[in-house]
Each structure stands twice: as structure tokens, then as C-alpha cells.
Symmetry: C2
DNA sequence: AAGTTGATTATCAAGTTTGACAAAAAATAT
DNA sequence: ATATTTTTTGTCAAACTTGATAATCAACTT
């Protein structure tokens, strides 16, 4: 008995636009006007569908954490049975599969964490979770490696990956990507021979 | 015949404050009011001593590049004759010697590079220079290592270092720092035995 | 066709940020 | 002490950002 409710679709559309702006300009630089323009919508629609600025940030944060979890889950599930760790690296450093925006958003949110204690805790948890999952994967593949060394390698690979993703778009970074991937492989190989 | 000119000192004071704000809130979030408050000066003095917003950003960028060069130079000069690479790592990952602010500023400026092509080129050069210098250092210490591998290790260490510095202040990151350092050491050791 | 619900538009007020200028105060040389 | 130069303060207008509301338009149900 009424016009169809497309609020959910609009909401996603707006959060997509906001995410792009946050990745590009940082949280403080992502104004409602830029967001609306990016979404190709009038500014009042942002408010109508999502809410005020704080609502936007909260919604983006929640969606970011959700998407990260989902993405990581499917990432791990899609890994083959053999050579899981090496395949994981290949995907992480493959520009075709990578999602630089997500990493940039995470840096933006972490920067914004100075203002928001709850956000800081959430991002800390997100980071820990990322490393822990990679850690588990490596531990499975290298059962004979020393656990603390596995953790170090997981941390190192994460750092290299985050760095290269956050720098994506600066310029011609093909060589940076290649060298980063190679160093990640060196770290992986330092754990010995992978379980068959 | 006149009041003493303290413009240079004030300028540094203001740029220090602006740098802190940029590191904490990003370029877009570092308002003139926040900067003035951080510098404990009235806002009009910012304009009087440095200029408008663009002048501030330009001045900060120039000073950042200058400081980076100087810091890197003295860093390399102060390295001992023996075990140079390992000592470099110890310094890089020692919170006492590190300068997280500089790395955060670099990320903020890189984010802002979307707006400014010249800035993008400068930051790309800065990044390349950082890696290249580390590369040279490692090449000296490991003359028998394959050059491409040395470059990979230099890139990896840089990524791990940048990442951990940019995350500094998020929370209790002692374990992240320790694991990051350990992975950097693993990378270094992968080059073989250092030149005596 | 009419009514109902929700999307869209138009518009405005309040707050913030920036840019700019003029007047006042301070410090030094003569 | 006075003139000169520079800092410091006070102030204001313009531009931008945000928050909010009312009015209009569109689509679907009955």
C-alpha cells in the first residue's frame, strides 16, 4: 500500500560512497556533501537513509568490521588444501583480489580512534584478529615451527601487506608490490617446509 | 631600531603544533584553531607567521621532507662500523629512538596526495628514498646476497616498520612491536651472514 | 481512482572554519 | 624619550558544513 522501501539499498549506496571518501580524505575530510556527490544523491537523502554524521561513522565502522570478518572467512575457506599459506600470500599481494580501500579505511578509522575510545578498542581487536587468523593458518601449515616465530612471521606479513595496501594509489607501485610480496615469501619460507 | 624578529622561532612553534595535529587528526582534521591551541597562540598569529592553510600544508611538507632527510642522514652516520644492519633494526624498533609522529605525518600527507599531484610525487620520492637507503645499507653488509633479495628485504623491513609506527598509540602494542621487530630480524638473517 | 506510505526536493538556521584587516602594544635603536 | 618596526590582539565577513523540517512527488494497494 505504499511506495517500495529501498532504504536498505540506498543505505548501502551511501555507505559505499562514504567509505570511498573516508579512504580518500580521511574521516574528518569525508564531508556529507562529498559523500552525497560520490553517491550521486542529494545531501538530504544521506540524512534520510542513514542519519547524521555520527550515525554515518558508526554505521561505516560496524559495516567495516562485518565486511572484514566476512571477507576473512571466505578468504580462509576458499584456500586450497595444499600450500594454503603460499596461496594466501599470492592472494594478499595480487592486486586483482586485494581490497586496498578496506585497509585505507582501517587506517582512517584508527587515526580517528584518538577521538573515540570505543572505536580504538574495536580497531585494536580487528588488528589482533587479523594477525591471529593468519597466525593460525601458518601454525597449521608449519606445525614444527616455533610458535613465537610463527607469530612473528604472521605479524610481519600483516605489516608488509597493510603498508603496501595503504600506499596503493600513490603512484606507480608495481615494484613496491613485487618487492613486498617477495619479502613476505621470504618470511614464510623462514618457517621451514610446509606440511604436506 | 625595532622590535626583535621572532618569526622564525614562532614559525617552528606553529609547524610543530600543526605537525602534531596532522599526525593526530589527519590533514583535513588539523584546523587552524586546533593548531593555534596546540601551539598556545592566538589563531591570527598562525596566519601572521606562516600564512593561510595552504601555506601551512606546503611548509609542513617541505619541513617534513627536510627533517626526514636530516634524520635519515644522522641515523646512518651514527651507526657503528660493525653489525650496522642489526643495529639499524634495533634503533628502528626501539620506542625510545623512534619517531612515530613522522611516520603518521607521512601517511597523512600520502592520504592528502589524492588532492595534490605534486605532493604525491614528493611522497613517492620520499618513500623510494627511504627504501633505497636501507637497501644500500643492507647491500654493504651483505655483499654476497642477491641484489633483488636485498631490495625485497629492505622493502619488507620498511613496511613492517611503517606499519608498526603508524599503529603506535592505538593501544597496548608492546607485543605487536616485539613481533614486528622479530620478523624484521628474520628478514635480515635471510640474507646470510653479515660481512665482518 | 483514491489513499497511503516513503522517496525526493527545497529551504533555512546554527555552528564552524577560514581569510583578512586594522588598531594596539611591545621592544629596540637613536 | 621618540621613532620605527614587529608582534599581538580584536574583530568581522565570507564560505563551508551540518542539522533539521516542511512540502512535494512517486509508487503501490485496495
Amino acid at each position: 500500500m505504499a511506495r517500495p522501501d529501498i532504504k536498505e539499498a540506498r543505505r548501502e549506496q551511501i555507505l559505499d560512497a562514504f567509505e570511498i571518501c573516508v579512504a580518500r580524505y580521511g574521516v574528518e575530510g569525508a564531508t556529507l556533501a562529498k559523500t552525497a556527490e560520490q553517491a550521486e544523491l542529494a545531501r538530504p537523502l544521506v540524512r534520510h537513509n542513514v542519519g547524521n554524521r555520527n550515525d554515518l561513522i558508526d554505521a561505516l565502522t560496524e559495516r567495516f568490521l562485518q565486511k572484514s570478518r566476512t571477507r576473512m572467512n571466505s578468504f580462509l575457506e576458499m584456500l586450497p588444501r595444499e600450500h594454503r599459506s603460499m596461496k594466501a600470500l599470492e592472494w594478499l599481494f595480487d592486486p586483482h583480489y586485494s581490497d586496498a580501500r578496506l585497509i585505507k579505511v582501517s587506517y582512517a578509522l584508527i587515526t580517528h580512534s584518538y577521538e573515540n575510545e570505543k572505536l580504538a578498542a574495536a580497531m585494536q581487536g580487528w588488528l589482533d584478529d587479523f594477525i591471529a587468523r593468519l597466525d593460525s593458518l601458518l601454525a597449521e601449515d608449519f606445525p614444527n615451527a616455533e610458535p613465537s616465530k610463527v607469530t612473528a612471521v604472521a605479524t610481519g606479513i600483516t605489516g608488509i601487506y597493510f603498508n603496501v595496501e595503504s600506499l596503493h594509489g600513490l603512484g606507480n607501485n608495481d615494484s613496491l608490490l613485487a618487492a613486498s610480496k617477495q619479502s613476505a615469501v621470504i618470511l614464510l619460507n623462514s618457517l621451514g617446509t610446509a606440511r604436506a
